[in-house]
Amino acid sequence: MNEELYQEVLLQHSRRPKNLSPLPGATHRAEGVNALCGDEITIELTREGDTLRAVHFQGSGCAICTASASILTCETTGLRAPEARALAEDFRRLAVSGEAAPAVADRPRLAALGTVHRYPQRVKCATLAWETLLAALDHPV
């Protein structure tokens, strides 16, 4: 099995995802769909002022998709909205091209997910949650 892609940290997150539940009182929300496979994911968050107080997700995807969503909720909770946006953009670049901006290089879990750029057919699995986060930031409930 591909141990480079399925690193232990990712398997942990896919088996026991963090923040996988509806978020009561969410202020923002978006659904994302991977048109190629049909996987759907929902991101909900509560924003206080500019700060993301809580970030949750729902839906089920493959190990990479689920791990990415779980790690996303961990990495973005507590960030300010512009920081979360920038991180999402940085991560997208990492997943597509392997180019690691400092913000993602400093986060080992994101760096682990970044190996996906060697498997183009899996990139969308890794980026779906992050694209959905960007959409959620634009969609107050």
Binding site: L5, Y6, C37, G38, S60, C62, Y119
Partner: protein, 413 residues
Amino acid sequence: MSSELLPDLERIRADFPFLEVEIAGQPVAYLDNGASTQKPRAVIARMAEVAAHEYANVHRGIHLLSQRASELYEAARVRAAAFFGAARPEDVVFTRGTTEALNIVAGAWGEAHVQAGDTILLTELEHHANLVPWLELARRKGARVEYVPILPNGAGLDPEAARRLLAARPRVFAFAHVSNTLGVTNPVAEWCALAREIGVTTVVDGAQSAGHLPVDVTALGCDFFACSAHKFAGPSGIGLLIGRAEALAATPPWLYGGDMVERVTYTGATYRDAPGRFEAGTPAIIEAAGLHAALDYLDTLDLPRIAAHADALAEQAAAGLRVIPGVRVFGPEGRRAGLVTFHVEDVHAHDIAFACDERGVAVRAGHHCAQPLMRKLGAPSSCRMSFYLYNTGDEVIRGLAAVQAALAFFRRA
């Protein structure tokens, strides 16, 4: 079961250069034939030969080259008509594929014949190509779409419901001959006979049956039949819409332009009859020759045996999958048409397909262009192994081993 496998499999495999490809250091086991099939040397060589020495535009020139190109293009039509039992070559229209063929029916025939309040009858197992064009037509016209429901686990379509819904005289009944997801074969001849009696137009999506099992559109009795060459060892970029003469005559033009017109002025135009009416512009000429070669190739074999071969492999795969804990196999219990779709409770289809890929086994993961069906079955994403004439029992075993390895990996800890 193995007696149903093709006896000359090694010779057949040697006809397909693709089978030399290696993935991850292993010969590829290509089990994604439901999506598209590989091409034999005869097809590839014929296309190259036409492109090199026989190419010109068709239907346009007085010169010999154009005449010859027209002849090879029309010969492909005659060949296809004979292969699929069309009453006349003129009943065969070249399209880009099944999707365009079904859009012509829904878009041009449907535009002219479906009215507000009419019912369009589909089934719950349709591919998006035989679903979305009808949803769009219904939206535009204010028509209603109804569905023949599937039986539990996708074992088939509910035969009682089918008869009842059909007896209610929808304007049109469109359904797959063979489901690309469930391996269900529908009773086309029976439904078409019923429909004909009560004046319901029938549209058969033959993407998964054409070139996989014997198809005689006249015996089936449908009004329209659609298929794609790339699904039966032919080229990409070409497919067929076969219609009864009356059904095609009742269909307005689709694309407008050269070759489909009779007389054009600055204020209006008159149109030719089928098939020319539906073939505006320069068609897929090299591809028509490739389609012809694919049909010739299939005729060197024996279609019922090809079907039995693919079915036997699918049954072998289904049997192997059913005994794995947590695996749910969709579709009929017994004979299935050359494919098996399955869902694993605790491991996602993508991860399984990726694991297969790493062992050189190409299987499909996703919604198989049948999102509503898969949602209804509770498996928005699933895996599919689909077989064609060059697949082997050994490849099935490799596929099963890859699935088991994937489950072992993801289930450990």
